[in-house]
């Protein structure tokens, strides 16, 4: 305690000319990114926040309307339907995706043949355009001409219109979402695994730990910071899911309502219906939810993330 106080009391030296010069250089170095951030993120965010209290037409002409957008939004059943769908998406895809990513990373971290080949093919979906991915999967799920139904037929099973059926469509979309994100998460987890010191494994082996014990008592605890990072980014990504669903589920699909996410709703109001004020209010709602969820995770990490 005493030590800390002393540290605080150390009188601040006046910055020398040289130091000041360094600061200028430093600010100049961060200027391009900071300016970009201000122009492309901070300013639009503030404008969006302002729009949420206005009626805004296609041409960004805003007329102040107070809390009208919010009061309309709170009683809009569509919002709760999309919120529920989005939560379902996050709760299912994040754990499943995480589990598969860890499994793949662990397998590819071991000594197997053709390691870099597998790493490449698992990473490929991450570098493929999501529109292209969605179109291909749409064909796979096609009711009459899809390859999935063709395979089922070989086994004597009856296929169906996967993307029009309310009990299957959303899961079909989730599979694509997981398939797209597993590769990227795997690479990050793999890097995390390779950062674990070999000596820990050697020590564990001397103590008689087998591969299974080594995985659960050395790899997993040491990997928790990486897992935490992957979890935060996947959950945020899950809340913002839009493109694959937009591409795969047509407006006349019977599963359309049960597949609409909050961002899809935002897109429709903002860009299809030209009601940017209402769309802004929806996006603020999504932002608040993501903020709360992330804050909760930050608080919860103390209980399980190991930074030693």
């Amino acid at each position: 305690m005493a030590e800390k106080k002393q540290q605080v009391k150390v009188p601040k030296k006046k910055a020398s000319r040289r130091e000041k010069k360094d600061w200028v250089a430093g600010y100049l170095f961060i200027a391009p990114v900071t300016l970009g951030l201000l122009v492309f993120y901070i300013f639009p965010f503030i404008q969006n926040f302002w729009f949420s209290f206005n009626n805004v037409n296609k041409f960004n002409m805003a007329t102040f309307c107070g809390l009208e957008n919010y009061s309309k939004m709170i009683v809009d059943t569509e919002l709760y339907q999309t919120l529920w769908n989005t939560l379902k998406y996050v709760v299912i895809t994040v754990p499943v995706g995480l589990f598969l990513s860890i499994l793949l990373a662990a397998l590819l971290n071991s000594e197997i043949k053709g390691k870099s080949f597998y790493r490449t093919i698992y990473f490929l979906p991450s570098v493929t355009m999501s529109v292209a991915v969605s179109l291909i999967w749409k064909w796979i799920y096609n009711g009459e001409y899809g390859i999935l139904n063709a395979i089922l037929k070989v086994f004597g099973l009856e296929g169906q219109n996967w993307l029009s059926n309310q009990s299957t469509a959303f899961y079909c979309v989730m599979i694509v979402g997981i398939w797209c994100s597993v590769g990227y998460n795997m690479i990050i987890l793999l890097a995390g695994m390779q950062g674990i010191s070999k000596s820990l494994y050697e020590a564990a082996a001397i103590d008689g730990a087998g591969p299974k014990d080594q995985f659960f008592h050395v790899t997993m605890p040491m990997l928790t910071p990486t897992i935490f990072f992957v979890m935060i980014t996947s959950i945020i990504g899950g809340f913002q899911v839009f493109d694959t669903i937009y591409m795969m589920i047509g407006k006349t699909s019977m599963a359309y309502e049960s597949c609409q996410t909050m961002i899809a709703m935002f897109y429709r109001y903002g860009f299809e219906f030209g009601k940017k004020g209402y769309a802004a209010a929806i996006s603020i709602f999504v932002f608040l939810i993501i903020m709360v969820v992330t804050a909760f995770q930050m608080w919860g990490q103390k209980k399980w993330v190991n930074y030693d």
Binding site: K58, F59, G143, E144, N161, L163, G250, T252, M254, F273
Partner: protein
């Protein structure tokens, strides 16, 4: 010394870069800011459109206009349909929208409401362009708001019934004809089924499509979607519902793929792969069909089958509009009006991608495709209804498709669905 030199050079570079950037902006400004009055300087106009295929025709029109008006220079800009509106809306927000632009009826309400478009009545009178009598009435009305003309009709599209001769020949069924009724269409579907079609081949298709399918029969049957004052929807009318039900019945009878199947594989995709005997198609599909090797040479078209003695058709199209805050408003209007004239419509028509809006230029599209019965599209163009639009048109169409799918799927009756549509649709018109 050396250090200073470096600094000087860096400073010099910054100045040069800044200057070029400013110059870049400046030259653009000076182009549109001169008043067009100076005789030695050309008036520069920008002209924006969204179709890559129609660019040569538009450029040819510009060339012809520039020849007649050497004081004007027009720059053509093109982007994809989806990007187009975003671009126009963003540039209009910044006050720099193109001087002349394509618009369609779907956007005319929101654009005139925001004051983006200039009224053209005076310019039309000055340019000596007679709209009445020279254009189909539905097309002129489509761009009139509060009694003022906001666009010059450019082209239009109507619908026709396309059929695949190969499928008919194989089944030994007679081809459709121009004088068909809805009953004939149904009978033919039954006959095709009875004679036997290949696996996955259907006689017809009925997607939840307003412009090409049910709006035509709704209006032919005396119903309507939006009333004249745009205060109420007409979903509750028996006539409206019958105009939709006739297509649902065809799905129920097995003449057309189920809603789930048509959602997975579109009617166009089926027809273009030779898996559909007949399909309704807008005139904008003609080029695509003819470019498809799988069906080219095997197809032809006839009129949309009549209903209760009426010829159903839905007419839509686009027009040339002028940006209200254009810095060369007068010149821009003059050019837009010229685009509606005989010469411009001929240039556009001969390119062959669309029906030119002018009555005397309609035949060019048919001339470009002698192998097809293109007259099917224009025989009853005078009776065609314009696409019903309102301020919230996009939202209304969305709502309609969303609700109607329950009726097409059979999980609700059309009557139930229309009750919801009436309530929610009316709310959108308020």
């Amino acid at each position: 010394m050396k250090k200073n030199l470096k600094k000087l050079m860096a400073l010099g570079l910054v100045v040069v870069m800044g200057a070029t950037m400013l110059a870049g902006c400046g030259s653009k400004d000076s182009g549109s800011s001169d008043d067009g009055g100076s005789s030695d300087k050309k008036t520069k106009l920008t002209f924006s459109m969204w179709s890559e295929t129609q660019m040569p025709a538009m450029q040819a029109m510009i060339d012809a206009y520039e020849k007649e008006n050497p004081n004007v220079e027009i720059e053509l800009q093109s982007s994809s349909y989806k990007e187009y509106w975003t671009k126009i809306e963003a540039s209009a927000t910044g006050g720099t929208a193109p001087d002349v632009m394509w618009v369609n009826v779907l956007h005319i309400d929101s654009y005139t409401d925001a004051g983006i478009l200039a009224e053209l009545d005076d310019a039309i009178a000055d340019g000596g362009l007679e709209l009445e009598g020279n254009f189909p009435p539905a097309l002129i009305d489509a761009y009139i708001r509060d009694g003022k003309q906001y666009a010059i009709p450019k082209d239009f599209d109507t619908n026709a019934l396309f059929y695949n001769k190969e499928i008919f020949d194989k089944a030994g069924v007679a081809y459709p004809t121009d004088d068909w009724t809805m009953e004939d269409l149904n009978n033919c579907c039954q006959e095709l089924l009875d004679k036997g079609l290949d696996e996955n081949v259907y006689p017809f298709a009925c997607p939840v499509d307003f412009q090409t399918w049910y709006y035509q029969t709704v209006y032919a049957n005396g119903g309507y979607i939006i009333n004249e004052d745009k205060t109420e929807t007409g979903y509750d009318l028996k006539e409206t519902q019958e105009g939709i039900q006739c297509w649902i019945d065809m799905i129920d009878k097995g003449y057309a793929p189920t809603l789930a199947d048509i959602t997975d594989t579109s009617a166009d995709a089926r027809f273009e792969s030779g898996h559909l005997a007949m399909v309704l198609a807008g005139s904008y599909m003609v080029e695509e069909y003819l470019a498809n090797d799988a069906i080219a040479g095997k197809i032809d078209c006839v009129e949309v089958p009549s209903m209760n003695g009426k010829e159903p058709n839905c007419i839509n199209g686009l027009g040339y509009a002028v940006y209200a805050n254009s810095k060369n408003l007068e010149e821009a209007q003059k050019f837009a009006v010229w685009c509606g004239g005989e010469e411009a419509m001929k240039i556009q028509g001969e390119a062959g991608f669309v029906f030119s809006a002018r009555n005397d230029a309609q035949h060019y599209f048919a001339d470009a495709h002698p192998e097809l019965n293109i007259a099917a599209y224009t025989n009853h163009v005078e009776d065609a209804v314009a696409l019903p639009v309102c301020m919230n048109a996009a939202e209304l169409y969305d709502l309609e498709a969303n609700e109607l799918k329950y009726a097409y799927d059979g999980s609700k009756t059309l009557e139930e669905v229309c009750k919801t549509l009436k309530e929610e649709g009316d709310a959108l018109l308020k």
